[in-house]
Symmetry: D2
């Protein structure tokens, strides 16, 4: 068992980390960091638990520590649910202190030496860890993409053997993506908000790195363009998206690619039975309320495959799209013996 900690343990993504790690077979959650004023108090007293799963009472007794490497000496790996503005410096500090950081924050995603990984899509990018270590750093940072990007690239994974030109994607994103307090009820109820700050930029840049090729010590971006239009809709969890991929192949071949898809990884505890569930017959799926918990929230569902090539993809944004993505990365790190 590897001792692990969570940074930003009380927020929306932080709580998901705690939920996923409370009974993890490889990781022992020993340490929780939150704001300085919470330090010293039991996690169960300071967290306002907002998930509909039972609060893990054993974790509730852990005393919260400040967010600094010196307070977390017993851990080998931390999961970061920090906001981007804090994550930039703090995650670097942890990595420099010899701790592995699996981060959901956007701060370091586009740095050339930092892997931006979805295990089903680009596990080989973990090779950048060695590039980081070459700089004399003891620890390292591995990031997962923005939630919408994860759904898109995972849904596209079965199609990578085909030649793409442009991707267009219109998202219908859940309110939990903005954190517990991020969207006022008056703003989103009976409404669509056709704007999410920096989301389109993230989808348009991150996807090219993830689907790019590791050549030597560098990732060469994938040679296509992504054009995104991002919208918030009144859904609690689950990002849905309509995708157009300009693939010049018969639809039957595309369909077969989904039917035959096998991800390039296996044996990771958080990996679902199906990384991509393909709805071949149901005309009205995937739907967030019915499909977001498929594979305990880790399966990305794809349906409505049509000429275009068009399809609809959907996944759980705070599990597959955030905390679960980081945990899966950490499992891959362990399996690949980087830790």
């Amino acid at each position: 068992m590897i001792n692990v900690g969570v940074l930003g343990a009380t927020g929306a993504v932080g709580q998901r980390f705690v939920e996923l790690l409370a009974d993890h077979p490889w990781f022992k959650l020993t340490t929780l960091a939150a704001s300085d004023r919470s330090a010293g108090k039991p996690y169960g007293k300071i967290v306002k638990w907002r998930l509909d799963t039972p609060f893990p009472e054993n974790i509730g007794k852990i005393k919260v520590v400040p967010t600094s490497p010196s307070a977390m000496k017993n851990v080998d790996l931390v999961f970061s649910a920090l906001p981007a503005d804090i994550a930039t410096a703090t995650e670097t500090e942890f990595a420099d202190a010899g701790i592995a950081v699996c981060s959901n924050a956007s701060s370091h995603r586009m740095e050339p030496t930092i892997p931006l990984v979805v295990p089903e899509v680009n596990p080989e990018h973990l090779g950048l860890i060695d590039v980081q270590k070459d700089t004399g750093r003891d620890g390292f940072i591995v990031t997962n993409p923005n939630c919408s990007t994860i759904m898109m690239v995972t849904a596209l994974a079965p199609l990578r053997k085909f030649k793409f030109t442009d991707i267009r994607v219109a998202t219908m994103q859940a309110i939990s993506g903005a954190g517990f307090e991020g969207v006022a009820a008056m703003a989103i109820y009976d409404n669509v908000i056709p704007y999410i700050g920096k989301e389109e930029e993230k989808m348009e840049t991150e996807a090219l790195k993830i689907m790019g090729t590791l050549k030597g010590k560098k990732v060469v971006n994938a040679p296509f363009k992504v054009s995104a239009s991002c919208h918030r809709v009144p859904v609690i969890d689950g990002h849905t998206m309509a995708v157009w991929a300009d693939i010049k192949e018969p639809l039957a071949k595309i369909r077969k690619a989904y039917m035959d898809y096998k991800p390039p990884i296996k044996g990771l505890p958080t990996q679902p039975a199906e990384s991509v569930h393909f709805f071949d017959e149901e005309p009205d799926r995937p739907q967030p309320r019915l499909d977001r918990m498929r594979g305990r929230g880790m399966t990305v569902s794809v349906g409505r495959l049509r000429e275009g090539v068009r399809f609809v993809a959907m996944g759980h944004n705070t599990i597959r799209g955030a905390a679960g993505a980081s945990v899966l990365n950490a499992e891959l790190i362990v399996k690949k013996k980087y830790l």
Copy 2:
């Protein structure tokens, strides 16, 4: 004043017709048709009024008649809110009996001799009325498009001077589009349904006819393709859509086209001050709850213009997208002296 009637007067679109016609300056609503078992009863007794505007008490006293030309001899024009399966034969019957029909049903939209009109986009298509009359028919049928199509073609109207290639559109449609009983709360609450029967086909075919050119007695379809992905979201009224139009012009020219846009019609009572409202500065508009009632529900709002060319369009689906569209067509018919 022209005496008019409404077919299908008790449903979602029928009630909107009644609301819009109760105090109309050109049309006198004298006759309401509904199912045979309602015939003879006052409208106010049989309708379950579900709009949040006050019920027009003067209309409530009108006795409902059966849906047949013989029962509606005093009217010169009927508005049809009939379901498509009934509309096919019934609307033909009314037109053959010498009555003008402004229909919101899909039945006759794609018939070569029947105009499919949005006054701001293709008013000249009313010329097909003469083609209908050449067949010896005394009345005629004029149709308006599907609700989503109306929003899209109206939002594209300022851009018609540019050369298009393909259009891609992802819709986020309101539940009222399916009628009062059309979507179960259990189906749509906290959910997105990525499928609306025949909606994509309608958008893909109707738009080409509307944006086509009337040459002699025929409409030649517009020379581009529409690829639609239609989704239902938990919004009461207002269809939002992300549109990509492949226009090879600088964004500044596109923006100027919206700023300078003047529709080709004027002086119609139901026409709003702005057919297209362009949000140039607000980053997060249009939004259905805040913008659907702009121009008393008749304005189509456009915002988030970006390279791509991408934008977001939104309009009220049961007013601009249904009953209001038919009433505006009827006003154009009167103004152009077809009646």
Copy 3:
């Protein structure tokens, strides 16, 4: 293992029965009945599964049978999710054919010889089974109350030692209580419907029977009154209710009754660890979204205890309030050796 079947297996409550029985330790789900036109087809082909839990594939292969005792000869007990109008005759037919019926339908609840049971409240009322058997019937019918009534009487269970006078209760009920198609989205979204047909009458009569006393072969109703006001709110699952019980005791004694409460039954597989969860410190609980799945949907949560005596109760209406209630009754029947 006792072989059991489900009547009305495709509806909202029927699907919950299938979910709860798919892996039950005492009951083997062998038979599923649905409408005649479905008979002969595998359940997996005819059911439109709408729960967010995985569909039990092993049950999906079972071929559906017609709703008649002759088609279900291999079962000893059936769970009825039939609508009330069909349940009246059909459940009688099954009981006469020697089959035990655990019914969620309202048809037989108020019949003098039929037990209306919530195991935590009136397990001894199962004694009425003997009264039924005395009439020469081989099988028997046991019913559970209406969903709202179950939450109320379970929440009141810890207070039964005190003298009550009147109960007043205002409910805020979930849309799933009306079945998958029971409430149109246009009716309930952004709205409250202050009326649910026959619901107030059920709460006002059923509670008195359940909290009544079995004397000889009869139940003597409890000597207080219930005055209910029932409302539908935009919540998917979970009925919340504000309760006033006129108890002339200090609040501290009431609170202690909740803290010390132990239900009169134990050892039933579907029984939750806590039949009643009491929120003593949290000022804003119970809440349906956070608390409905407590005890796998079988716990009734109580909070906001105040002078009055006032409190708020909440429970999952299709699990604790319907299918789970029937299954718990069946388990009690087995434990008490009536089967």
Copy 4:
């Protein structure tokens, strides 16, 4: 025309004040106060308009001033939408400076010399203005009750001739009652929150003052008790409540009291045609979405009258329950020549 100003003009209630005063026949809205950092800027530049009615462009040009009497010398009356913590001192300052204050804040409601008025219920309580003036103050403060209290006391107005004992009330309150940012979407969507800070206390104390009797220079509280249970539900606007009033009269007399009700005031511009709309026949009304805009948001609707005496009341919380209530009070003040 009386020059008036609004304090707290950019918030949820402040925007409603602007909407109601933009074209008022008696009041000229000349001055808008907001936070110091907004001072000097045009209202249209600093307000984020969130109502679905068109923004009043003429008001948009008014330059915002700081919240102090010296900056608002040209007005005779201000409407206060200030938060309670600021209102306490600020409103006193304005009254001392000779300005009439009509306040929606809770700060001064329960002070013995300050009228807490609903014009239909206790117009004579304005007599306390003279008591305030006796202290040498030039201006005065008049308050309106909490939104839920207003609906309750207005709904009870037709019943005041009967003897009451206790009132019990369970509310289902809209999210707009907490302000634009007051409730997070993650907190209320698919949920009920059975707690609103201080709301129950307000209903329980304010109602007794409003329904009390002005004797000399004092209000003697009404001699009954109110026991409230307050809940937030996912509704945008419109507070619904189930009320029990212990009135020992036949239901027919109660019903007649509603049918015959005439309010004690008339001729005020903001007063609706019906202060109380009574649904005598419709079994499922009032409903917030359909009925909140009755009387332009100023009518309180009552329905479902049953033995108990029980009924359901509903009104628009930010119009009748806040800004409209203050404006109606101001109109009464003018009519009664206190200004």
